[in-house]
Symmetry: C2
Subunit: 569 residues, 2 copies
């Protein structure tokens, strides 16, 4: 190939593809350069004045290096990797660093392998991390466990790019032997370790970073980003569906520290991707918040390539991969065309490749293993009339603990006349029969039940309702459809399968968005407060690492004490 | 180790070493921070307020990450790697990227191995490149040949860090199969390829870079640096003994492109290192030329680490190697102390380690293989009275071609009454008996001969004189001492051995400098023009890749035509 690159660069032979009549962002100099871009095969070989065997007219628009999402859970799109690629590549994204944390908690290493292999059906370059926290805590039943020894073994495999966000921050500082073993395994394999250290600083942050953890995407204040960068971390400017930190954190950018900022989306669901976009959205937000557009492009390209040692990525220059996004301008970032490895893969907002989900491997199918439930499974018998209750807050994954007076009748709490609902986490991986029961205040559902198999991070069934029969019916429906989302109310059952591990749909993106929005409407019709995402807000109520009161399949959990707690107050 | 780092970072146990009462340059933020630096073993674990088992008072001085020389030929110091380390570490250098181009042209891969192994006797971290041009041209007799196939084999070895400066720029553009094979070998091994592309631009530069060559240290104008950076190269700001490009090229630095600039010394001889320093000198020059001192420090540390993927180097931050240079200030860069891997290795300009040359391996000793020469070996018989003559220019390695009228007598040219001298290159690796003869104008030597075994890049014997008997005596002296520098004049012979491959001395640095300066004085006493370095200026007259007229052991060479030429004009 080297000879072909030389010929094409010298112009002694026509390059296989030349992009003409455009300008491009030179990430090394910060300049906007008007020049032809010559591509031979999958590599850029030069810019200047060139002729190509094929020539594409960029019509005065602006080319930038293909965007790199430096941290994303593809599962959060609730789409297959193929459909995910079909949504993000037309927005200018060509590479993502994917942490298959969710599916690995359900399917073990097979889940990570699935993400890797399914991504190969698309032109999207997906670097797959090995999730570091499977399960997230010892207080829940996940579908799989990756021990320190497992991690040491798997992290050496070629298909795994690094160790995923190390959320077990307390474990690191407490020198938990399993945590240490995971970190040592990644270090020995010479692989990058992503971090996750919300609101940490000082000596604790020093210790966390000293172990070799090199990135963080959890900053919520510029000062936090500044300290982390000053201690050597790369900081992801995150614009997810629920966590929108770009506008605030990009205020921390200076000419010196710019090179340590990246962009990521972390968690972004299908409807958001379809409607608002992917990194293009993050760039719009950043520029609107005052970040210089060229700086924003550099962060989304060269910096991510530097941080993750993605050789040949992140720039439009000779020898670099011909991964290029073309935007109408650097304000609205409307994507005109996307090129990956020298091939046009998207134009006018549509993928030019087959984005349909291919045949699923057995390991990610039929992941709901539980018996048929009866209404009695959801009877909640209290000793007295005072109960610890989970109070859910809008725009937040943090909950509050409240104590409420409740009435009981025939060995079950009486919900009518209260703002309380029954919340249950039903173990669904190993048919243990575990059901954790609790009370939730402030959600606003009446006369039915809503259930889903997405419940961070162990992804058991979470079900909320005010009628035991509907709760059972909703869970049984999830068993029937092999995982997904369900509503049971008024004798009617509506559902939408998430047939990939109970987390993601094999439907095409557009169809999935239409159907999930229809289901959402039905949920709101039951009175759910519209300040919540009817399904997704539930999915965080089993996340035991976020304060204050949460629910696992093994019972109510006090995150502040980091132990189970009694529902009787 | 991870547990120890955590304990020390948290302060739950005292760090093994704490540097107190200093400030340090935070290369990520550009700030000067006043804080204790905590070190555990060989790693920095944090900054802030710390106590240590050992504490060192920095007395208000300024710590920076250990300096990284991104491209150096250690052989040019004419010292052993041990003595070289003894000179540069007290100047703040902790890591160098060394290209053993000279010794490999004499000894083959054993030369590179020697540099690697001898460096291990010192705390200096030496990353050894595999020289890419052995020999530099096909028109000379070198001590070794590394073919494309050799390169493909050797480059995979762990001790070799990358492929050294690819000087055969025309070979790359002409798709020379041997050049391509070398590049492909380095690419396949995933190793960095250093460049050397003086005064190239446009499509030729595109082609050169497209092959994967990623650095250049040959820029002589800011515009040249700007173009090369805009095309993705890292640019070394070079401050060698003969090539001083920092002051000019640092004008090209901008906030955007800063991250692509490094520092290097390339070739710097012992006396210069001893008197003026190493990268500390380059930093002084840069700051004096107007470069912001913090930017200069970033270029000499973080940027080099980024370019060469030196994980854990280039910053003072948790998890980074405890390689630290402490300077009195950021103007004069007078080095107070140097730390390498958490150990103090230099203080007050002196190394705290044994910098003496250890036992030499056989492969680098006794590298002068030639018979005893007689004065007749240097008879120069011309056909007529017009000769092509090499004109040497002060402050330049480029020569001019001139045609001069010369007298002959008894089958030899007559030099008396002219400004001409006889120049000869005597093959010394394989005893072929090759002697290339030429005439040199403008050096100013009278009544003797001067000879040395350093003659770029094949390092045959080069000898200059006006008396055949002295020329023979000088060369025979080099044979006797196993390589080095010699002067024969007035029946007296003075010499200084370069017992390591005929290129470097095993003497301690100070002794070597004293003795070489004494020899230099003796050379100037023969009338050599002081605008030349009496010995080193000669060493470039056999370098066949620099215009215009040069001399090889196989005859006079016209670099512009790239072919041999007749001495008869």
């Amino acid at each position: 190939m080297i000879e072909k690159w030389i010929d094409a660069a010298l112009g002694t032979k026509k390059a296989s593809l030349v992009l003409k009549n455009g300008r491009f962002v030179n990430v090394f100099t910060g300049e906007l350069i008007g020049a032809d871009i010559a591509i031979e095969g999958d590599k850029i070989v030069g810019y200047g004045s060139y002729e190509g065997q094929e020539e594409i007219d960029l019509k005065g628009k602006i080319a930038v290096p293909g965007l790199i999402d430096a941290h994303v859970h593809i599962e959060s799109s609730q789409l297959s990797p193929e459909a995910f690629a079909g949504l993000v590549m037309p927005r200018g994204t060509t590479t993502v660093i994917a942490d298959p944390h969710e599916i690995t908690n359900v399917c073990g290493i097979s889940g990570a392998q699935y993400i890797y292999k399914a991504s190969e059906n698309t032109p999207l370059e997906v670097k797959v991390m090995l999730p570091s926290c499977v399960p997230a805590t010892a207080f829940e039943t996940s579908g799989a466990v990756l021990t320190g020894a497992d991690t040491e073994k798997f992290i050496r495999e070629d298909f795994l790019f690094g160790l995923g966000e190390f959320m077990n921050y307390p474990g690191v500082l407490a020198k938990d032997p399993e945590a240490i073993k995971k970190l040592e395994g990644a270090r020995a394999a010479g692989k990058i370790i992503d971090g996750h250290a919300p609101s940490t600083g000082g000596r604790g942050l020093n210790a966390y970073i000293a172990t070799g953890i090199s990135t963080d995407h959890e900053c919520i204040r510029p000062e936090e980003a500044e300290e982390k960068i000053s201690k050597g971390m790369y900081i992801h400017l995150r614009e997810g569906s629920a966590t929108r930190n770009v506008a605030v954190n990009c205020r921390a950018v200076t000419p010196y520290n710019l090179r340590r900022f990246l962009f990521c989306t972390d968690d972004r669901h299908a409807a958001d991707l379809q409607e608002n976009g992917h990194l293009d959205n993050a760039l719009r937000v950043a520029v609107k918040a005052g970040m210089h557009p060229v700086q924003a492009v550099i962060a989304a390209t060269l910096n991510a390539a530097d941080c993750y040692h993605l050789k040949g990525k992140g720039a439009i220059a000779p020898g670099y991969d011909a991964d290029i996004a073309v935007f109408d301008d650097l304000k609205d970032f409307r994507c005109f065309m996307t090129f990956k490895g020298g091939k046009k893969v998207a134009e006018g907002g549509k993928p030019l490749f087959d984005a349909s989900c291919r045949a699923l491997p057995e390991e990610v199918k039929n992941t709901v293993h539980l018996g048929v439930l009866s209404p009695d499974s959801f009877r909640l018998k209290l000793k007295g009339s005072r109960a610890n209750v989970i109070r859910i807050l809008p725009d937040n994954v943090v909950t509050e603990r409240a104590v409420r007076t409740v009435q009981s009748e025939a060995g079950d709490v009486v919900l009518s006349g209260t703002d309380l609902l029954k919340l249950a986490v039903v173990e669904r991986h190993r048919d243990t029969g575990n059901i954790g029961l609790g009370l939730l205040e402030g959600y606003g559902l009446h006369g039915g039940a809503i259930a889903l198999t997405v419940a961070h991070d162990s992804h058991n069934v979470i079900v909320l309702g005010d009628r035991n029969a509907d709760m059972a019916a909703a869970v049984n429906e999830l068993k029937r459809i092999g995982g997904g989302m369900a509503i049971a109310a008024g004798g009617r059952i509506d559902s939408l399968p998430l047939d990939i591990a109970g987390l993601m749909s094999s439907l095409p993106a557009e169809e999935y968005v239409t159907r999930s929005q229809a289901l959402l409407s039905r949920a709101y019709a039951l009175g759910i407060d519209r300040r919540f995402d009817a399904f997704m807000s539930l999915s965080f109520l089993a996340l035991l690492v976020i304060p204050s009161l949460k629910l696992s399949d093994r019972g109510l959990f006090d995150v502040d004490q980091f132990s189970f707690c009694n529902i009787d107050a």
